[in-house]
Symmetry: C2
Subunit: 260 residues, 2 copies
């Protein structure tokens, strides 16, 4: 049992929790709590390390047992050590260190989302979760967007990290990847209401950041500007809320246009 927060394994976890640089250098990130670690197992992730406390419930114990069978290193730690390793105030008894190798985009993409400087980790995580639920092929993150593998984003993503390709891109790469797609950007001043736009064609949706909306690079890239109609007195929506409305409008139009 690990009972010291100075243990090198624990110190490494703390670095992975707090530093984007460490996550990049070590190509690893951390997920916490039974629900997320269970999702990691179900989607075939192989942790480098799992740590857990003795007071884990039955569901948690089974989970540790399953990782054990797969030869994953599972170490019991004291409550204090888990707390030291955790990003949350009240850790849920289990935490896994996972290799960070992003899922690849499918060969043919017809539904991508581009996050243009989404800086709020909660918004980015919610966006990941929503994009996966809407059936997007992947999320491209522009320079200046929050680190998608930081603890807050991972928590808000609720497992989307295991199912949705998430790529940090330069604008040149975004341009290349979306080359064959119609690019829609959303803005108060967009000409076309989202309900009137044709989202059944192969497309990428640009979602602009909280402060300034789509930036200069997005303006160069966008083919069609759309707006989300709003009632009087409203100027903007939360980025994750706007993303949800856009993503599910795509799903609605595509579901409707398919023969049932």
């Amino acid at each position: 049992m690990i009972s010291s927060a100075q243990n090198p394994k624990i110190k490494r976890i703390r670095l992975l929790q707090t530093q984007t640089r460490s996550r990049k250098k070590e190509a690893a990130f951390v997920v916490e709590g039974i629900r997320l670690v269970e999702e990691a197992f179900q989607t075939g992730q192989v942790p480098e390390l799992v740590i857990y406390t003795r007071d884990l419930d039955e569901r948690g114990e089974q989970l540790v047992g399953r990782f054990h069978e797969k030869k994953v290193v599972c170490e019991e730690v004291s409550q204090e050590v888990l707390k030291a390793a955790s990003d949350t105030e009240t850790p849920q008894g289990i935490l896994a260190v996972l290799p960070l190798h992003p899922l690849a985009l499918p060969a043919e993409c017809d539904f991508l989302m581009i996050a243009d400087e989404i800086r709020d980790p909660g918004n980015l995580g919610t966006l990941l979760r929503t994009a996966q639920a809407a059936g997007a092929n992947g999320l491209l993150l522009s320079p200046g967007t929050a680190d998608p593998f930081s603890p807050k984003v991972v928590r808000a993503g609720m497992g989307a990290h295991f199912r949705l390709p998430i790529l940090n891109c330069s604008w040149e790469e975004i341009n290349l990847i979306t080359n064959n797609l119609t690019i829609f950007a959303s803005d108060m001043e967009g000409d076309t209401r989202i309900w009137d736009a044709d989202f059944t064609q192969p497309l990428a949706l640009i979602l602009g950041g909280e402060a300034h909306g789509p930036g200069e690079h997005s303006r160069d890239l966008a083919d069609i500007w759309v707006n989300i109609p709003m009632s009087a007195g409203s100027e903007s929506l939360n980025a994750a809320a706007a993303g949800a409305i856009l993503l599910f409008e795509v799903l609605r139009q595509r579901t409707k246009s398919r023969p049932s």
Copy 2:
């Protein structure tokens, strides 16, 4: 100039920032930052007190001048005092104490949202902002929902508090207020896809909490259960994202059904 955080006015602000009980007892709440305080002015709110620091920019100074003209008490404070009064790490130079008297619902409501134990302040604030943008008549909060006038909810609401009626209700009151409306609740197992539901009729939408979805009282109240279709592997959405999708599906259907 107030230069002590022990000043009774400042101590009162801290209580209003931190305690639901104080906000209720004093019927007052706090908004921070130029943008929100400006919105308060524009929507005709009359603060009990405005405090500001000397380094306010021109826009902020004009705002203080306007409140001054309206005989609102405006007090300069030191940076330290503003920081002590503020709920944020980096206060933006101005803060206002506003009377808390909820806006009344219109006599005829045809679009209400019911928040059933939404506990996350960020989600609740985003929901308020989105409900106002979608043109809802008001938001009814069930027992167990977060305090809508807490600092985090106010920040995430981005001014919706000044435009949208927000009512803390018992379930009996919710029942009474929504008596003439068709009540839709959303759930994975709902029979009807949101796109197939008729949201043009006078309605109330129930949005369930992050942990358990719509609860027992919602189950008693709901007339029609709808689902938000999702791609394989997704089980749920963030509450604020689900709310945004539902609210804007109502707006979409109603806009489409109106002669243009």
